[in-house]
């Protein structure tokens, strides 16, 4: 059996006296969509920030394709093939699609001191990469700010795929999108999976998570409650966990009591 695309072993993260993550282990295989579930404060953000090199774990280790890695920056993670599309998408609205696509990795031509950004190449490649994931971009020199939310999301995903990501982490990719655009983004998630990427998906929307996910990992108050394959967990159960599980049932009872007293 080949090593998982990415693996966390007993990872903990403390911020001062706050334990944000406690002894979390999980594995994500290539060609799998892995959905990360949990209420606010469960540690999802901390976990993806560790995976993407924003934070370093206080304890435990991360393995990419079986090799131990130590990410000191998002750049380190990207170079190891772990690409994260945060909610800001890593795109700058006032800059063109092509300039955004190659930001920090600009192709250059010519010799110093006349070395310049190869814009023709950048435009052509950005355009092709977008066509490859299935979106027809009008003009790679147009500003990213002119694109719709779904289009921006897909530019960010296409960029991650183009630059050789093996693990793609998507933080709430559909939260700000309408039905049609969310469907478009989920199509790219499946596209990425078919290309053999490991996809880690964070979302609050069961209608988005359940159809595309292969496995689910549940986080609660900084600890992992285990990983389940889709076969092992029903949609209703996922909904119950996502909406806060027992806590939510307790809240509902309290509200019912309150309403009864008001009447």
């Amino acid at each position: 059996m080949t090593a998982p695309a990415i693996e966390l072993r007993h990872v903990s993260k403390r911020f001062g006296s706050v334990i944000a993550l406690n002894d979390v282990s999980m594995t994500v295989n290539a060609g799998e969509v892995h959905c990360l579930l949990g209420d606010n404060g469960a540690g999802k953000s901390t976990l993806i920030k560790i995976l993407s090199g924003v934070h370093r774990p206080s304890a435990g280790e991360i393995l990419v394709e079986g090799r131990r890695v130590d990410f000191r920056s998002p750049r380190d993670a990207a170079e190891a093939g772990v690409a994260t599309v945060f909610q800001d998408l890593g795109l700058i609205p006032l800059m063109s699609i092509a300039r955004n696509f190659f930001l920090g990795r600009e192709p250059v031509r010519g010799v110093f001191p006349f070395r310049r950004f190869d814009k023709d190449h950048a435009n052509a490649v950005a355009r092709q990469a977008l066509i490859d994931v299935g979106i027809q971009v009008r003009d790679p020199t147009q500003a990213v700010g002119t694109l719709s939310g779904g289009e921006r999301q897909s530019v960010a995903i296409a960029r991650a795929i183009h630059f050789g990501a093996k693990v793609l982490i998507l933080d709430e990719p559909t939260s700000a999108l309408g039905v049609h655009q969310a469907a478009m983004v989920l199509k790219f998630v499946i596209e990425a999976r078919l290309r053999g990427l490991a996809v880690i998906l964070i979302t609050h929307n069961i209608n988005h998570a359940y159809p595309v996910a292969d496995r689910f990992t549940l986080l609660n108050r900084g600890t992992s409650k285990g990983t389940f394959s889709k076969a092992a967990i029903s949609r209703d159960e996922v909904v119950r966990i996502m909406s806060g599980g027992e806590d939510m049932a307790a809240v509902e009872r309290e509200i019912a009591d309150l309403l009864a007293r008001v009447r």
């Binding site: 990207a78 310049r116 020199t141």
Partner: protein, 374 residues
């Protein structure tokens, strides 16, 4: 800036109507200032005094004014696009001038060494401005406001302590290297202008030499600095990083753009632009003055903003800033030649700034395809 020319790789998307060249032109950040520049030219052409203003001599005068401001505006535009301000450049002009003046008159240094030292000082000042801004994450507005006072105070304090006065005259009296001065205060194309004078095409003095001996070096420097800055911004990787640093520093840093390095470098560039201007002024006047350059920092910011550079960063062009400087020079001389009370210049300036910012906001919305940027 991205060229708004459609690359004809395959059939255009049917969802968008083809944009005409006029629409594409109007979407460029310089569009507003270009309209403003043409309007300014036309207005002064209709006013009395237009003949003198648009004579060769008049043109050289306003072009020289524009050049001196334009050298600063090119550097300042880059820095504003990268999301920072440098309010210390006016004081840097005075400070660089007295560095040159004191080294030449007190220590007998050749001009090239004194000028070279002034640029080294600028490098240190720019580096410190940048480093403090980047490390403390304070607004550069405040950090460089402090440098504004420190540098001006140092200029006056040092000069008075050493010479007992606030001006340093006779800098060009006996320099061992007068050719260095010619690099900054000379003229180019002098042969061509003499020939035009002989042909009777341009006005000549009694001795047959033309009133305008050639194109002043300040204009040559302006063109050189503007071209270099424009090329870096629009054609290089570093230029992409400048836009990114001002557009969204957090995103830029996360994708690996060395935002701190970009900003520090540009603070050095603005300090060096101020020193270049100081050198030109000292070489032309033959003297240095501790109050020289006062308020130039604001004029440079105004020129950049009139030129379509967004004050919040991330958007604008160097060419726009050059047009902004041109409007500035034209209006200043135009008001002088038309005999309008020059007191009104500031009123006009205030109104132009307001108008420019409004136009910029509109242009930004246009660049984003009239969608509200979220």
């Amino acid at each position: 800036m991205p060229e708004m020319v459609r690359k004809s790789l395959d059939a255009p998307d049917e969802r968008v109507a083809r944009t005409g060249w006029l629409t594409r032109l109007m979407r460029r950040p310089e569009a507003g200032v270009l309209v403003g520049l043409v309007a300014t030219f036309v207005i002064f052409a209709l006013l009395p005094g237009a003949k003198s203003l648009y004579s060769l001599q008049g043109a050289m005068t306003f072009l020289t004014l524009a050049a001196e401001l334009g050298i600063l505006a090119a550097a300042v535009a880059l820095l504003i696009i990268a999301g920072e301000f440098d309010l210390s450049i006016g004081s840097m002009i005075g400070f660089a001038g007295i560095v040159i003046g004191l080294l030449v008159t007190r220590l007998g240094w050749p001009l090239w060494a004194a000028i070279g030292t002034a640029f080294m000082v600028a490098l240190v000042v720019g580096y410190l401005n940048g480093l403090i801004t980047v490390k403390t994450r304070l607004p550069s507005f405040i950090v460089t406001l402090a440098s504004l006072f420190i540098l001006r105070g140092l200029s006056i304090g040092i000069t008075r302590a050493v010479t007992g006065r606030t001006q340093i005259p006779y800098i060009l009296d006996n320099p061992p290297d007068p050719w260095t001065a010619a690099l900054f205060n000379g003229h180019v194309l002098t042969g061509f202008f003499r020939w035009m004078g002989e042909m009777g095409w341009i006005a000549v003095k009694g001795d047959g030499t033309p009133f305008v001996p050639g194109i002043p070096m300040s204009i040559v420097w302006w063109i050189a600095v503007t071209s270099a800055a424009a090329w870096v911004l629009s054609q290089t990787r570093f230029g992409n990083w400048i836009y990114a640093a001002g557009g969204d520093p957090v995103v830029a840093r996360n994708v690996g753009v060395p935002v701190a390095r970009v900003k520090i470098t540009l603070f050095i560039v603005t300090a060096c632009a101020a020193t270049l201007l100081a050198t030109i002024q000292v070489m032309e006047a033959g003297s240095a003055d501790t109050v020289r350059g006062t308020l130039k920092e604001f004029e440079a910011i105004i020129a950049a903003v009139i030129g379509g550079v967004l004050l919040t960063g991330g958007y604008g062009t160097v060419l726009g800033a050059a047009f902004g400087a041109l409007i500035f020079g034209l209006v200043q001389m135009g008001i002088f030649y038309t005999g309008i009370d020059t007191d009104w210049f500031k009123v006009f300036l205030g109104l132009v700034i307001l108008l420019a910012v409004l136009v910029n906001n509109y242009a930004r919305a246009r660049a984003l395809g009239e969608r509200s940027a979220s």
